[in-house]
């Protein structure tokens, strides 16, 4: 029974969600894109890693372990620097500046003055992308921030910013125009008035990228950034694109710059930039300037230059020539964006790549991968029906993977299986054939992959005679039918359906896009450096959603703003108009969710960020797509990626955006940001709900996979419950079984291990407010009302969860013997059935119940399990009897030993001594008594009984014949000691008490069972 005290209704809040917490399962196996690394010069063990979309991570031990320190803020970082003069002061510039198609945006510059414990926003809120922060070498209150600025639109909030008051106020030190930002800034460490900056004109549209233009140039200031002059002498003729630039810290007159032009090359200057000369440069040195913008000179050796790019190029002759080390230690992930070199030991460095952080101790010749940064960047997630189920997803530059939702000992990197290469996106398990998955790399290059044989067959639809060239999105949808898993959909500009695992496709639509030819010129995209990776493919299908209620109804969304519907399996199509809801025409249709409760209800998200509009667009139609109504909330942040309707509660909705996960429990009227053990501004790209476990699986782009276990609690969070002071909520029935031995070896020092959901029973309750006064206890009773024990309750506002291991109260220990009584720490599982819960909140009591089930998948027969339970309980009784007897020995011995010296008559004294000695003989046979700092290995009855008892308790099946025989032997031994003790006490205790009485000393009494139960040892 659930009782509650209602005081009205309340809206959902982040606090009310409480301990409906998410757990991160990683993976860190492939990690994710790194944008900046810094460490303390004085103590390089303290290091920070800033990431493209996974926040900032701090290590206090040189990378042996990390913790995220930016979870309340924007997760996209473009720049990060420690104030080495005040090492607790950190600067973080949000908004990555490796301007790829999937780059996220930032919302300003943040400062911490307590080594990352807390952060303050210090302005530049509209900068969107920050590429560099440099501090004045002598006065760290003066800092410069290079702001490339908005990628998708004109913006006046770009350029080089300067603050002279530690970030309180900012001025523009260098500004070109609304199309040109600042990409790089350097300060001469010996003469800080000398500065250099590169400006960059660039722009993305949904269908093209342009790097380069008249705004791009190289500048020098001789007055600390007050005035700037272009540097041209020896540089090629403009236009320029992006310029990566650095100087030699120990010889800062020497400059190095990779200047993007039609013939990108590396240039060097030895006179503070006044004259430049071109060097011959390898492809790697000059590759993709918009994406690889890092150039680093050794802090001690001005001739040693590092160029992180596709791979790492190293020059030891001042950039005249470069080599690429062979990495004898194994491969390093391609695409490098950050390099930190220890200024005190320049052999030691950290390299940041599209796939995490690597450490080298030999100047970049060999690297070790840090396996503990779960900043993996998923685009999509999918799940299968296995138990435990697997999670699937594709990642930026890291292929397609599968991993378990739980695993004994935790989910380790090695538990993840790579399925397909390239950039991964949709990965769909075939629910009919568990060896098969469908995966892809960019541009619709999809395959049917056999996980067992590792064979894969391309299943990408191809152009047929008379057909236009097919256009596949960078992130092409592969979507199974929710009504028939044998049906698979994909889309180019046309929608395709396959009934045979992609071997054949049937085109079931016309061109569903705008087919705007002006948006299909990707072969010339890139600007000065052609870059046609399929990232700019446009006028393509991006979203496919079949109705669960009607398989003939399919919705399709495109990247150029089309939302189309068929109600007859593609025979005819209806172009749905949504702009009256206030959603800009041409927005990407990022997700569509036909309701599973009402055929006429459909939700959709729209993403217009590629036109510079970062608003959150979520809409619903209640008439099959004719009229749309926008769903808004002031807390929404980030462009919308995914709307998901719950499988069982129609008013429960989940929205994933570029900056957060939002939950509504009332059909979209009110929303709360989800932040229960979850980064508050995580980029949430995809959401799945498991139909059996009721788990919400969250695919983030930058923080890996999170699982919110058992969202049935959220389904109960009605306004009525949230308006009550205290409610015991329903918990899902749980199976009673032993969890088995962990197979965790000696642990995974240095490796990320994803956590599992507990198999314990969970008592769930709601508290309207935190309980500060009075205690909270969860009392457990069996169905007959017998009290088992209480558990300490948590007291937080919102949903609380208290976990119970479903074991009986352990037997009581005696307080004698060497070592610890392990038997007194173990107990059998309780029987399946219904248990009553009493929640005590200060003086009030609230009742509920909990159902414990037999394990339906148990391999043990009911008879075997009954024997196990009976045997375990009998053994627990034996442990109790032994401890009771041992405690009585101690009691009598203590009484004797205290009084023997006081007995004057030697004959009487001998009687007492003999009694005490006889008791000690039995005590030594009942339990180990040899004291030692080492391992005595002594085994007496208690130790033998504990071993047997533990073995029987931890296995749910029939005890072995040996165990059952052993029990008989030990029971006989126990009874023998009990009989000996009984005889001894009968023989000696009356005599002893007469002697004590004669000497006017206190009597000795044997402890009763009741006394034993009432006394805590």
């Amino acid at each position: 029974m659930v009782t509650q005290f209602a005081f009205g209704q309340a809206k959902l809040s982040s606090g009310a969600i409480g301990t409906v917490e998410a757990r991160c399962i990683g993976p860190a196996a492939m990690s994710g894109r790194i944008t900046a690394i810094d460490a303390l010069n004085l103590d390089p063990k303290i290091m920070y890693v800033a990431t493209a979309s996974g926040g900032i991570w701090k290590s206090l031990n040189g990378g042996a372990s990390f913790k995220p320190i930016f979870d309340k803020y924007c997760q996209s970082l473009g720049a990060f620097v420690i104030d080495q003069q005040r090492p607790d002061t950190l600067w973080a510039g949000t908004g990555e500046s490796n301007m790829r198609n999937s780059v996220s945006i930032g919302n300003g510059i943040y400062r911490s003055t307590d080594a990352g414990e807390s952060w303050q926003l210090k302005g530049l809120e509209k900068s969107e992308h920050i590429s560099r922060i440099v501090l004045h070498p002598k006065n760290p209150k003066i800092l410069f921030v290079a702001v490339p600025g908005a990628l998708w639109s004109d913006s006046e909030d770009r350029g080089l910013y300067k603050s002279e008051d530690g970030g309180e106020t900012w001025t523009k030190s260098l500004y070109i125009n609304a199309k040109t930002g600042c990409a790089e800034v350097l300060i001469d460490p010996k003469n800080p008035d000398i500065m250099y900056a590169s400006t960059w004109e660039f722009r993305r549209t949904p269908y093209a990228f342009q790097s380069g233009g008249p705004g791009s140039a190289l500048y020098k200031s001789k007055d600390g950034g007050v005035t700037w002059n272009k540097l041209t002498n020896g540089l090629p003729a403009p236009p320029f694109g992006r310029i990566a630039m650095t100087l030699a810290p120990t010889a800062p007159d020497n400059l190095f710059a990779i200047v993007e032009t039609n013939n990108t090359a590396l240039y060097i200057s030895s006179d503070q930039g006044e004259h430049w000369k071109q060097q011959s440069s390898t492809n790697n040195v000059c590759a993709r300037p918009f994406y690889f913008s890092t150039l680093v000179v050794d802090p001690k050796d001005p001739k040693r230059v590092y160029r992180p790019s596709y791979s790492l190029s190293i020059s030891s002759d001042g950039a005249y020539s470069f080599i690429e080390p062979g990495y004898g230690s194994g491969g390093v992930h391609s695409d490098h964006h950050a390099l930190w070199i220890d200024p005190n030991n320049t052999s030691h460095m950290y390299l940041g790549t599209d796939g995490g952080v690597y450490e080298s101790k030999d100047k970049g010749n060999n690297f070790t991968f840090l396996t503990n940064l779960p900043v993996s960047q998923f685009y999509h997630v999918a799940i299968d029906q296995q138990e435990p189920y697997n999670v699937y997803g594709g990642l930026q530059d890291n292929g397609s993977w599968q991993g378990p939702s739980s695993k004994s000992g935790g989910i380790k990197n090695g538990d993840w299986l790579e399925l397909f290469g390239g950039d991964g996106f949709w990965v769909i398990p075939d629910l009919n054939e568990t060896d098969i998955v469908y995966a892809e790399y960019q541009g619709g290059n999809m395959a049917r992959v056999n996980k067992r044989t590792h064979e894969s067959q391309s299943i990408k639809p191809f152009q047929i005679a008379g057909e236009e060239k097919l256009r596949f999105n960078w992130n092409t949808p592969i979507v199974p039918s929710p009504t028939d898993p044998k049906r698979l959909y994909t889309g180019s500009q046309y929608l395709y359906l396959s009934h045979n695992q992609g071997r054949d496709w049937t085109k079931i639509s016309k061109d569903l896009t705008t087919n705007d030819k002006k948006k299909q010129e990707q072969e010339s995209s890139g600007g000065l450096t052609v870059d046609n990776s399929s990232a700019e493919n446009h006028c393509t299908i991006f979203t496919i959603a079949e109705s669960v209620l009607d398989s003939n109804t399919i919705y399709v969304g495109t990247d150029d703003g089309k939302l189309q519907k068929t109600s007859d399996q593609g025979k005819s199509w209806q172009d749905l108009a949504y702009s009256s809801a206030g959603i800009p025409i041409g927005s990407w249709v990022s997700s569509i969710e036909p309701s599973r409760y009402d055929k006429n209800v459909v939700y959709a998200t729209f993403d217009n960020h590629s036109y510079g509009d970062h608003n959150t667009y979520l809409a619903v139609s209640r008439d099959g797509g004719i009229k749309w109504e926008r769903i808004q909330n002031p807390d929404f942040t980030g462009y919308a990626h995914k709307i998901r309707e719950d499988l069982k509660q129609k008013t429960l909705l989940f929205l994933g955006t570029e900056m957060g996960l939002f939950i509504s429990t009332d059909g979209g009227k009110n929303w709360a940001r989800y932040k229960s053990s979850f980064p508050e501004y995580a980029c949430v790209r995809d959401l799945a709900i498991h139909p059996k476990t009721n788990d919400l699986i969250v695919g983030t782009h930058g923080r890996g996979i999170y699982i919110v276990d058992d969202i049935s609690t959220l389904r109960q969070l009605t306004p009525e419950i949230m308006g009550s002071n205290v409610v015991v909520m329903e918990s899902r029935p749980v199976v009673v079984k032993s969890t088995g031995q962990m197979t965790n070896g000696f642990g995974q020092a240095g490796e990320f291990v994803g956590s599992n959901y507990t198999e314990d029973a969970c008592i769930t309750y709601y508290l309207k407010d935190r309980v500060n006064s009075g205690d909270v206890k969860v009392e457990i009773y069996d169905n007959n009302g017998k009290f088992l024990y209480d558990l300490p309750g948590t007291k937080r506002k919102g949903v609380n969860k208290v976990f119970w291991n479903m074991r009986m109260k352990p037997p009581k220990a005696s307080n004698t013997g060497a070592g610890f009584d392990m038997g007194a720490l173990m107990s059998p599982l309780v029987d399946p059935g219904e248990y009553r819960i009493k929640l005590r909140v200060d003086t009030m009591v609230y009742e509920g119940k909990l159902v414990l089930l037999e394990d339906p998948k148990s391999q043990h027969s009911a008879e075997d399990k009954a024997i196990q339970r009976k045997t375990a309980k009998e053994l627990m009784g034996m442990v109790s009897q032994l401890n009771f007897a041992a405690q009585n020995i101690v009691k009598v011995k203590d009484g004797l030993n205290a009084n023997i010296p006081k007995i004057k008559n030697s004959k009487d004294q001998k009687v007492l001594s003999t009694y005490e000695n006889e008791l000690e003989v039995i005590r030594k046979k009942m339990l180990a008594t040899k004291e030692s700092k080492g391992i005595t290995g002594e085994e007496q009855l208690r130790e033998k009984l504990s071993a047997l008892y533990g073995g029987v308790c931890s296995y749910d099946g029939r005890p072995s014949g040996y165990q059952l025989q052993n029990k008989v032997v030990l029971d006989k031994e126990l009874k023998g000691y009990q009989a000996e003790l009984s005889t001894l006490h009968k023989l000696y205790l009356p005599k002893a008490n007469r002697i004590l009485e004669k000497n006017k000393l206190p009597q000795i009494e044997l402890m009763s069972v009741d006394e034993w139960n009432g006394v805590r040892p």
Partner: protein, 244 residues
Amino acid sequence: MIRMKKSLFTIICLCLCSIAMRAQSADDIIEKHLQALGGKDKIAEVKTLLIDGTIPVAPGLDIPFKMSLAFGKGMRMEVEFQGKKQIVTLNGDMGWKIDPFSSGLSDPDPEPLPADMVTEMKPQLDQGGDLYEYKAKGNKVEYIGKEDVEGTECYKLKVTRTDGITIFYLIDIETNYDIKTIQKVKLDDKETESSSLKSDFRPLSNGYIMAFNVNNEGQIIQFTKVEVNPTLDPKLFEMPPKKK
């Protein structure tokens, strides 16, 4: 299996250090916090404490403990389990322990505490804790801003002690109780962080209000009885001689 946390001693001490606050400036917040705990006068009255409590280590298995605390002088914590008694004691500038839980012997000899551990624990002898009379004690306090603690809005104060230890106090803006503390300590070249959630705030006999429940990252300490200003024998804090 029972896991005894090394920092148990510290956790309980942190609880004792509840001195409180609220509002815009650090001083304002501290003033209201101290008022919520009964007021400065009540805090000043408390010279010694004798605490009984339990530590639930498994369902149905609670371990009893006893703690004696003389502010400015010493502190002794006794935890008894299966007849073996662990004692951890601070006596002015030094500390010692008798630890049968890790030695293998039921009654091992006393041994001194490492200097780092003494440094970590010593501020707990500070009457009224970090925020009470903080200026006189030389502590630096900074108001960081508001922060959510498990759905409850709190003021966050950063305290830098004279010994260099940093501790954050999160003070419920409604009740002005310090419902959470986060302590950062560097031990043996390793910075450790421990956070404690406090609840079950109850008045002691003199009106001083103290948290009777401390949850240190899942390890709960429950006070059952707290005696104010008992007479404590100074010998409690003195390290006994080794047996041989």
